[in-house]
């Protein structure tokens, strides 16, 4: 139903790192039924990963998948990665832009499946039909992920048509919230794909491609493209991402009292003005960039100017990509005092290839656990964390990546893990094992982090529902239903694969029109059905791998700090969880 005729998207490239072997299979079956992206990735994952596989063992599999709209329509710029997460021990899904989806699409593949483990560090280059295994021993252990990117860039052909996905030292050290960096400023950030790369001794994956995609109705194609393009650049639906960018949220959330501050002891941040998107744009914004084939340019780069310590009038200027989530995690959550401190910490996290969000929430937990005496200088090897002191936080990050003792090894597995050992679970802000995103907006946000299939704010945007309903109280049933509807719909968007920032443009009717260019007639209802099916498939996989919603409790802290909806009721959230369980989990029969 969803597979365009003669489209190379049906080709899935399989790479076995153990055997250094690769082959292509025609998987029309999957693309026909599950469209692409999230839909195809979850089926490939289910096929390829043996039950209860160790996420950091050779049995884990990495899937990258794209959909029919990538390379064809504007802002269809994302690639979906799926794997078993070493961070939560269950379904891992993370999306990134850059040039990744375009390179994959124009290399002539719909998905890549990476299996096995290499015996020595390698980087793999996919150049159209050819796959090359390169020796990466000289890159292993290198301090800066920026340098790794530069060296690979200089050693690889096809500039302008390639994506260079790489890990930093954090991934090599198997920190369970290490990410994969692509095109320097974009990330498969969450749930530890970087550690999975590291466990496979895969330092980088380069994909280059410059082919064509068959279009059957050329006139229709140009017309719909123009319509989508005009909506994106001329209407206000995407303007906020373009102007100040996602950091516009800092002041907005602070004003309504929803900005998590100092490990969510508060939701108002005294330095919100300093770390606001407006202030960053005024004093630091150096350049804006776009992912390949997107007219929006939401990527904001700040210029960080650092003087040499021992020489006057010498400066190092680095470009650091900032967004709302890193500002929350490494800014308000840590009580940041200056933009420079925040940017230096963020730059260091990029250097090592960590997930900025989990890193910030882990540092916040460490600070509070230290304040309460649960951990001391002995565990921290002399460090005394203090809100707003980024120098200390940078030293802690250095040690986190070095892993010199049991404490640093424990925090390398996230604060859910560390708090089970050292105490402080009540203020370890994790949901389903994953550290929280930057929204304490009301009941829908923490509920959505808990039940969302990837424990992300992007699963169903509970925060957005909270914000729209300030002053009103929805029933538990209403919240559960609305967010379920949203999460199901988003499976369609991430199977196409369009950027979720363009969700306001890619309405069901226009998606139906856009399929006409491929000569495919689809109905709006078909889209909804597909979303529902994919969401169910993801949950089936989670259950197969032992996901138990009852095992996860809401951290006490979220009930102690007010939201724009007042103090949250634990009873209400637990009831919502129960309703979700009845609606979804009890529907899934155990897979034999």
């Amino acid at each position: 139903m969803w597979l365009p005729r003669h489209d190379p998207i049906k080709n899935v490239l399989y790479i076995d790192l153990t055997l250094k072997k690769f082959w292509v299979e025609d998987r029309s079956d999957l693309f026909e039924e599950y469209m692409g992206g999230t839909g195809v990735a979850i089926k490939l994952l289910e096929e390829e990963i043996p039950r209860n596989a160790d996420p950091l063992g050779p049995d884990n599999v990495i899937v990258f998948a794209i959909g029919p709209f990538n390379g064809v329509y504007p802002a269809a710029s994302k690639t979906v990665a799926m794997f078993k997460s070493p961070h939560t021990g269950n379904l891992g899904e993370s999306h990134a832009g850059g040039r990744s989806s375009i390179a994959l699409r124009l290399a002539g593949y719909g998905a890549i499946v990476i299996k096995g483990t290499s015996s020595l560090p390698i980087w793999v280059s996919i150049r159209g039909k050819n796959v090359v295994f390169n020796d990466a021993r000289a890159l292993w252990g290198m301090r800066s992920s920026y340098t790794v990117g530069r060296i690979i860039r200089e050693n690889e052909p096809n500039p302008g048509f390639r994506t260079i996905m790489r890990i930093g030292r954090a991934g090599e050290k198997l920190i369970t919230y290490a990410g994969v960096i692509t095109e320097t400023y974009r990330h498969f950030g969450r749930l530890g794909l970087g550690a999975v790369f590291g466990s496979k001794k895969l330092k980088a994956l380069v994909v280059s491609g410059r082919g064509s995609i068959p279009i059957s109705n050329k006139r229709e194609y140009r017309k719909i493209y123009k319509e989508l393009y005009d909506t994106m650049v001329k209407s206000p639906v995407m303007k906020k991402y373009h102007d100040i960018g996602t950091p516009v949220n800092v002041l907005r959330l602070n004003e309504i009292g929803a900005l998590p501050t100092k490990n969510l002891k508060a939701t108002k941040f005294e330095n919100a003005d300093i770390l606001s998107g407006e202030n960053l744009a005024k004093g630091y914004l150096a350049r804006r960039m776009a992912c390949s084939h997107c007219p929006v340019a939401c990527i904001h780069l700040a210029a960080l100017r650092e003087p040499y310590v021992d020489e006057p009038f010498f400066y190092k200027t680095t470009f650091v990509s900032y967004d709302y989530e890193p500002i929350f995690a490494l800014g308000s959550m840590l009580g940041a005092k200056s933009v420079d401190g925040f940017l230096r910490l963020l730059d260091m996290i990029e250097t090592y290839g960590l997930d900025a969000m989990s890193s910030g929430v882990v540092l916040a937990w460490i600070t509070e656990a230290f304040e309460r005496g649960l951990i001391g200088e002995k565990e921290l090897l002399g460090e005394k964390p203090k809100w707003g002191d980024h120098e200390i936080y940078m030293r802690i990050i250095d040690k986190l990546v070095e892993q010199p003792n049991d404490f640093y090894k424990a925090i390398g597995k996230g604060c859910a893990y560390a708090s089970r050992i050292y105490g402080g679970e009540d203020f370890a802000l994790t949901f389903g094992g994953n550290e929280m995103p930057g929204y304490h907006t009301g009941p829908a946000a923490p509920y959505s982090f808990m039940v969302g299939a990837r424990h992300s704010h992007l699963d169903s945007a509970g925060y957005s529902l909270d914000e729209k309903t300030i002053g009103k109280e929805l029933t538990e049933e209403e919240i559960v239903d609305k967010l379920l509807e949203e999460e199901r719909w988003r499976q369609v968007l991430t199977s196409l694969v369009v950027c979720l920032f363009a969700r306001g443009v890619y309405k069901p009717e226009i998606i139906v029109d856009a399929f006409k260019a491929f000569g495919l007639t689809v109905k709006v209802d078909d889209l909804y059905e597909l979303g529902k099916k994919i969401h169910m498939e993801k949950y089936k996989f989670k259950i197969r791998e032992g996901f138990d919603l009852d095992k996860y409790k809401f951290p006490k802290r979220i009930f102690e700090t007010p939201t724009p909806h007042g103090y949250l009721s634990e009873e209400k959230l637990v009831k919502m969880k129960r309703i979700f369980k009845e609606k979804i989990i009890n529907e899934i029969k155990p897979i034999s």
Binding site: Y146, S212, P214, K218, Y229, H293
Partner: protein, 126 residues
């Protein structure tokens, strides 16, 4: 880059006459390589079969039936504005139609009518 391919209803970049790439990594910014319609185009000078025809006002036109796919034109262009069609093994020559300009949201590309500005140059005959 994508718009250029789309002018014929194609998708992807295989038929694109424009190229976008970073200048030594995305950290340092981007460049666009596009034909500037030289009044005395070197690409035409090195074409052994006369497949590249000088256009009035600058630039060249490709006569595909004469092109043997030698690639001399690509090497001769110092700004890298002659792209290569890997599917047909022939150069992709910009016709200065301006379709790309309509899809450049940040005003980087511009189509200038030289006649209006009184700057029309006719390339000297070979």
């Amino acid at each position: 880059m994508f718009a250029c391919a789309r002018r014929f209803g194609e998708s992807g970049v295989a038929k694109s006459a424009i190229r976008v790439s970073s200048v030594g990594g995305v950290e340092t910014g981007y460049r666009i390589q596009v034909c500037r319609a030289c009044t005395d185009p070197p690409c035409a000078s090195v074409c052994p079969t006369g497949a590249l025809l000088r256009r009035k006002g600058g630039g060249v036109m490709l006569r595909p039936n004469l092109c043997i796919g030698c690639g001399n034109c690509v090497d001769a262009c110092p700004i890298g504005a002659v792209q290569w069609d890997i599917e047909l093994n022939k150069p992709i020559i910009c016709t200065h139609c301006g379709y790309c300009v309509d899809f450049c949201p940040h005003g980087v590309l511009e189509l200038i009518d030289l006649k209006e500005r009184g700057e029309i140059h006719v390339a000297p005959k070979a």
